[in-house]
Amino acid sequence: MDRRDFIKICGLMVGVTSVAGFWWLRSDNSVNGYRKEDNMVEARYYEQLDDNNVRCNLCFRNCYIEEGRRGVCRNRENNDGELYNIVYSLPAAVNVDPIEKEPMHHFLPDTQILCIGTAGCNFRCKFCHNWRMSQRSLEEVRDVQNLTPEDIVEAAKNRGIPSISFTYNEPTVFYEYMYDTAKLAQENGLNVIFHSNGAMNQEPLEDLLQHIDGVTVDLKAFTDDFYNDICEARLDPVLSTLKTIYQSGAWLEIVNLVLPEKNDSPEEIREMSRWINNELGNEVPVHFNRFSPAYQMTDLMPTPIETLERCRDIAKSEGIKYITIGNAPGHIYNSSFCPECNSVIIDRTHFSIHEVNMENGKCGECGAEIPGVWHD
């Protein structure tokens, strides 16, 4: 036998083994016993193109999706020229959390929220805490439940939970599920909030906001470089979303996770604060949260407390009234302060509320109107 024959035989063996292995190990379509085909619903906000291709118009990416393929979010699949949401009624996480965890500080403080999240996301943030769901497809997550919008609303009502939240991963990517649940929840007297990266297109957003009471938006940075390098996204769509939400009247709060050297320069914080003040209003609460290593961002030091305090000072100097510091339990600015008399209106440590010094939405000390959604 010469070298050529030897190589031919080896190649043949490898080929046969690979095919056999692929056939033997091919994955089944079901996810935790639920067949994707039984649960998927036709997506909204897409257009059909030639050759069974489609364009999704839900978020800033406007994915061009060929037949049999999915969008960047991994949740919208083109089947025979029709686009489907494949995670409808298949949440990967259903939990009860304190509302302060969103964070949402001016919305029914010290209450619980029923939180829903699925697989998939339209961003690729390198520091995501929920990456095991958000950076995975439905099949990769595997562990999901089957909960219709009716099931969710009933669960919230049975446990006496006043609000439902769409969070953990980006809710845009399960839009139809969120929309139907939100509508039903409101009809049943429940509050509806969601936590977003702010990259939803205007039309679907406006449609959704009819059934939404509050939104927390991550304004991750104020440069396109950060959005591009660290989240594989863009800044402009987020700014548009913020304006749309603000104008709709839904309660809005903004979170900025401060990463050392990446998005914490004084100039950037000042520019961001100025924009919020000018374009949205100085009564939108802003949270500066401390970064700690997570997911792929494991080699970056945690945010210095001084940096967070500096960010707060800058935002305050630009006129922002309600600023808190998060992920730093015990810091004085975990609490909310009255912008008029500087007294503590909500005494808070991390997620724990010690005292709410307010009456009918006004400061308990000076009577200043504090914007938000308060208990009756």
């Binding site: 036998m1 390198k126 050392p260 290593p293 080699d299 001084e306 991390h350």
Partner: protein, 786 residues
């Protein structure tokens, strides 16, 4: 006239001998330096790259494997180069010998630059993904090790030109001397006394000295002896003492690695690299590149939660043992409870030194509190030796991603812990977790350790979170919010963060039940010292972050390991049959295969004995150093014995070589079996509180024997090959067999360390190695027809 530095041939006979001896000595010195520089270069680059790569077993194996692979390639090409007519071997040797230290310095700087985004698209602070790690190792290690690998066959050629007799064997043995010296000096001096670039410069200086001697010897030009020595000494002192070059390069490369902070302290301990960064009033300590402590404002969000939940789970936590990751919050928060004594073990004394200098109130209190007793020792070793009994044994935030750290989560460790706990004592540890999710690799690691704890203790409880907490005890564990509130109120600790609302969220019954059920339903193996399933799952967890596309591959290996081993075995047998029984002129291939398999086994011994040492005794740096000496010393002794044997049987027929090879093959199998038996015996001894030092001595002897049988084969192989393959020069022989040895080691490093051993355990691994060795014995015995 005799010029002592460059011996003129004024005296025939004795003068010629004198010249030859002089040349031989200098070539030997150069070859020693090849071994010395190579060992130090490898260890140095491993350290530098571990800071960039997160330092787990996967990345360590990648680095070592790439080094061996590239070194093997270099050796192969070096062997080919020795046969070139157009360029003399000695000139080539000279050039490559000069380039090597520069390539080492360049590799260190390039590695740090690449981590900062040079050449590859990455961002400082971002963990490199697998592809980036591969590219980085190829570009940094690749060039250095190819150059280094090519030096050995060239050196063998020079030995041959000086004296044909057993040239390759002599070169091999001399190089091992250098390797031993390099290993020793690195472990006991360079690793913690010098920065990486300083060490590389020292290698450069040594190369420079040898180069000058080589120039002198090869008669390129002359020096007066005193002037020459003074010149050499001057350069040496000048560069070591006045080294703005090394300092500047060092600072420049660090600034690219950590642009987010100013490096205010940089040191290498014997265990790792410790850097302190400063930014806006905050000082952060990075250990091997990972943030481990904030010195000004400790990160308390998690540490307070973990400590409070741990201490509150116990009715009366008076006596606590904490293993690792305690300073900077965890200890402080434990001490807020009614603790009368807290013992804290920390392996690295240099880390403790840095923490002592912190300007944080929290950290100062931890060191000054009279209740705290800090023990500078490996936690597992402390558990082995202490006679104290504790209410709580708490393991810090140590993950299972290396074989070394996985030792803290095995059934054997849990059994040891149970003997050190009081009747109602608890073991508490944390793992990668999630409030919301329990599936895939996360479920595997948690399930494995949860079940391992359940195997030892009567009760185990999971508290989900960003890190999951597992509490194990023989007594019933009560973690209801009501009980916690009551206990915290009794202790005067209720309020601030730990309120009823917070505890109801944190200890939500339905969440705990839901995720615990998923844990129980997940099929995961028990984690044991010699079946380190926890390590494999931890590695899987890491792969899901840095190389998510490969997660399925490693999952399949875990799920179908025996089937895959079977299929791989069948395919290998087929290839084996084709290669050795259907191809012509295969005798040289058989010998090469034999050396390659021995190289694999030597590397496997290296990994497994070191791992056994750490499992049984804990991480003791001096033992690691002694082990390196023992193993390499064994290789040298084995090689030297066979060298002497060959010399003594020079006049006999060469059939004795085959006889001895066969005996050594049997000897290697015997060693593998002995290894399994001894390691299991030692484990029983240690579990019965047996003598640490006796066990250590036994391990060292094992290392010597293992090195001996594996090292003895190479000289025999180099003696046999030219007899099989006509006109095979020393250079080609060295190139071929050294390449085989290295590639065997490469394969073992990659597959044994991160696949077979973690997935299949020690016994299966040893059996696999025995099968491999049997395959080479069959070739030697020619049992199967040609």
């Amino acid at each position: 006239m005799v010029n002592a530095g460059n011996v003129e041939l004024r005296f025939q006979g004795s003068g010629m001998t004198s010249k030859l001896n002089k040349t031989g000595n200098i070539i030997s010195a150069a070859t020693i330096l090849i071994g010395f520089g190579g060992m130090i270069g490898q260890l140095l680059l491993i350290r530098v790259l571990m800071v960039l790569f997160y330092g787990n077993e996967l990345s360590i194996s990648l680095v070592i494997a790439n080094w061996l692979l590239m070194e093997g390639l270099g050796s192969y090409f070096g062997g080919k180069l020795t046969n070139l007519k157009i360029i003399k071997s000695k000139n080539l040797f000279f050039v490559l010998f000069m380039i090597y230290p520069f390539s080492l310095i360049g590799a260190i700087i390039l590695a740090r630059l690449m981590s900062g985004g040079f050449i590859i698209t990455t961002i400082p602070g971002l963990a490199m993904n697998l592809s980036q790690m591969l590219v980085t190792t190829i570009l940094t290690i690749g060039i250095t090790s190819i150059i280094h690998g090519s030096l050995f066959p060239l050196a063998a050629k020079l030995f041959e030109e000086e004296n044909k007799d057993q040239a390759v064997s002599r070169a091999y043995l001399v190089e091992i001397i250098g390797t031993i010296l390099g290993g020793l000096l690195f472990v006991f001096l360079f690793a913690w006394q010098f920065k990486a670039i300083e060490t590389a410069f020292i290698i450069f200086i040594l190369h420079l000295i040898i180069i000058l001697l080589l120039i002198n010897n090869f008669r390129l030009y002359k020096f007066e002896k005193p002037f020459k020595m003074a010149f050499i000494l001057f350069i040496f002192i000048a560069i070591i003492l006045f080294n703005p070059i090394t300092d500047n390069l060092h600072e420049f490369s660090l600034s690219r690695l950590w642009p987010e902070g100013e490096v205010i302290d940089y040191r290498n301990s014997i265990y790792g690299n410790i850097v302190t960064l400063s930014r806006e009033g905050e000082k952060t300590v990075l250990y091997d590149g990972n943030p481990v402590a904030n010195l000004t404002n400790p990160e308390i969000s998690w540490s307070e939660d973990y400590s409070y939940l741990t201490a509150t789970a116990h009715e009366n936590p008076e006596n606590i043992l904490m293993i690792g990751h305690g300073i900077g919050g965890p200890i402080s928060f434990l001490l807020e409870h009614p603790v009368t004594n807290l013992t804290y073990t920390e392996l690295d004394p240099q880390l403790l030194d840095i923490l002592r200098e912190a300007d944080s109130e929290i950290i100062k209190k931890e060191f000054d509190d009279p209740r705290v007793n800090i023990v500078e020792q490996d936690g597992r070793l402390y558990l082995n030796q202490t006679k104290d009994r504790y209410d709580i044994i708490k393991i810090g935030d140590i993950d299972t991603e290396t074989l070394q750290t996985n030792r803290f989560y095995t059934e054997e460790l849990f059994e040891l812990a149970s003997r050190r706990l009081k009747e109602d004592g608890m073991l508490v540890f944390s793992l990668p977790g999630s409030y919301t999710y329990m599936a895939g690799e996360l479920a595997l690691i948690n399930s494995s350790l949860y079940k391992t704890a359940n195997n030892v203790f009567a009760n185990s409880v999971l508290i989900p979170g960003d890190r999951n907490i597992i509490i194990a005890s023989d007594k019933n564990i009560e973690i209801s919010p009501d009980i916690f509130v009551e206990r915290l109120k009794e202790r005067g600790l209720y309020g601030r963060r730990f309120t009823t609302g917070y505890l109801e969220f944190r200890l939500d019954e339905s969440r705990i039940e839901n995720l615990t059920e998923k844990l129980i339903l997940t099929t995961a193996n028990i984690n044991r010292d010699f079946n380190p399933a926890g390590f494999y799952y931890g590695m899987l967890n890491r792969i899901s972050i840095i190389a998510p596309g490969y997660t399925n591959f490693f999952n399949i290996i875990n799920n179908y390991r025996f089937e895959i081993i079977g299929i791989a075995g069948v395919v290998l047998v087929l290839i084996y049959w084709l290669l050795f029984f259907k191809s012509k002129n295969n005798e040289a291939n058989r010998l090469t295969y034999l050396i390659a398999t021995t190289g694999s086994i030597a590397m496997s011994f290296d990994i497994l004995i070191m791992f056994a040492l750490q499992s049984l005794f804990g991480h003791i740096y001096q033992f690691s150093g002694l082990f390196i000496v023992a193993f390499m010393g064994g290789m040298f002794a084995g090689g030297r014995l066979t060298y002497k044997l060959i010399k003594s049987k020079r006049e006999e027929k060469s059939s004795y070589i085959l006889d001895y090879l066969k005996k050594l093959e049997i000897g290697i199998i015997g060693m593998l079996l002995l290894f399994v038996i001894i390691v299991n015996l030692l484990r029983e001894i240690m579990l019965l509180d047996g003598s640490l030092y006796l066990s250590a001595v036994i391990c060292i002897i094992l290392a010597i024997l293992a090195g001996g049988v594996t090292g003895a084969q190479f000289p025999l192989g180099t003696e046999l090959l030219p007899l099989i393959k006509d006109a095979e020069s020393a250079g080609s022989t060295a190139g071929r067999l050294y390449t085989a040895d290295l590639l065997g080691g490469w394969l073992a490093g990659l597959i044994i360390g991160i696949l077979i051993f973690p997935v299949a355990g020690l016994v299966i691994t040893i059996l696999s190695l025995i099968v491999i060795k049997v395959s080479s014995i069959l070739l030697i015995y020619k049992v199967l027809p040609e």
